[in-house]
Amino acid sequence: MISGTVIIATEICKGCELCIASCPQESLGLSTSINRKGYRYATLLRNNCTGCVNCALVCPDSAITVYREIKSTKRQSQSAQPTVATQTA
């Protein structure tokens, strides 16, 4: 399985949950805390993100950046985790 991750701009996110519903991996959920706008924001709950981009496609606020592991030419699956997970834009 390709391994990926997302970075969500938590201060941009409005907590609409559309990304959460669209994630085939059920990787996303709402934060328990709120951002300055008062919204609980989307956040990566699990490490099973495949970088499928679904969440980013449906995000109305362009709050999601998606990363995917670079496939070597031989298409070896490396499962290195990125050093960041959720970060404020």
Binding site: G4, T5, I7, E11, I12, K14, G15, C16, E17, L18, A21, S22, Y39, G51, C52, V53, N54, A56, L57, V58, C59, P60, D61, S62, I64, T65, V66, Y67, R68, E69, I70, Q78, A80, Q81, P82, T83, V84, Q87
Partner: protein
């Protein structure tokens, strides 16, 4: 941001640089944001940002120019297509699009909509049909469904009193000036991908001066519908799609 990343990861999706960094004023989950982004992605990917002029309407998307990082004009309510005509005619080789809501395009702007398309203005018209007047607080739109409760049809739209929801897209598809007419949505990743293709095809045909491309996007208005975004999208699929079915309505031979 990617510089902070582990070297083994690459960005596979990020906000296009044709979007500004201004946070949108849209309600959570509102389709306008997605449609903006898809449009700007296409312009970005086609590398035509420097040659594109957009026209924003009066409606929730009135501030589109705050978000789209290209040259834009803000038109009077209903007149985006007339304004786009003005732009189109004097900049024949640029890319021009208009972006309008259902109240804007199909109520007050009906005349301009029809005549712009009848002239076959070589523009892309983006028509965001959320079945309601979002900006002014949820009044009935020409496309509000029968029985739909809005702030001006508090007992549900009564088609005997005020008529049926207007399928303006099917109407204008009849016009010879309409080159490519399709109805899309943005409620799923697949739908978003399709819409992106449609926008791209539209700009491609604009290069060849084929006439008007008209893309309706059936969208939600969580606030106006008084639902949360997920409910809204579900309601949309269940209620709007039967009346406004997504799909191609007029597909030029070259696109088949």
């Amino acid at each position: 941001m990617s510089t902070t990343m582990n070297g083994t990861m690459e960005i596979v999706y990020e906000k296009p640089k044709t979007l500004t960094d201004n946070p949108t004023h849209y309600c959570p989950g509102c389709g306008h944001g997605v449609i903006h982004r898809v449009l700007m992605e296409v312009i970005n990917e086609m590398g035509i940002a420097e040659q594109t002029v957009g026209v924003a309407p009066v409606g929730c998307s009135v501030f589109a120019y705050n978000y789209m990082n290209i040259d834009m004009q803000e038109a009077a309510h209903g007149r985006a297509s007339a304004v786009a005509t003005g732009v189109r005619r004097v900049l024949p080789d640029k890319f021009v699009f208009s972006y309008q809501g259902d109240g804007d395009l199909a109520a007050i702007g009906t005349g301009e909509t029809i005549h712009t398309i009848n002239r076959g203005e070589n523009i892309l018209m983006v028509f965001v049909n959320n079945g309601i007047y979002g900006m002014t607080g949820g009044q009935m739109a020409p496309t509000s469904l029968c029985g739909m409760i809005t702030s001006t049809t508090p007992y549900g739209r009564d088609e005997h009193f005020i008529g049926h929801p207007l399928k303006i897209t099917e109407m204008i598809a009849q016009l010879p000036g309409a080159y490519y007419v399709a109805r899309h949505s943005v409620h799923t990743p697949a739908a978003v991908r399709k819409l992106k293709k449609a926008f791209k095809a539209s700009f491609e045909s604009q290069k060849e001066k084929k006439g008007t491309c008209f893309i309706e996007v059936v969208s939600n208005c969580p606030s106006g519908w008084k639902m949360n975004p997920l409910e809204a999208n579900e309601w949309m699929e269940k209620n709007m799609f039967p009346y406004f079915p997504p799909g191609d309505i007029k597909l030029p031979a070259t696109m088949k």
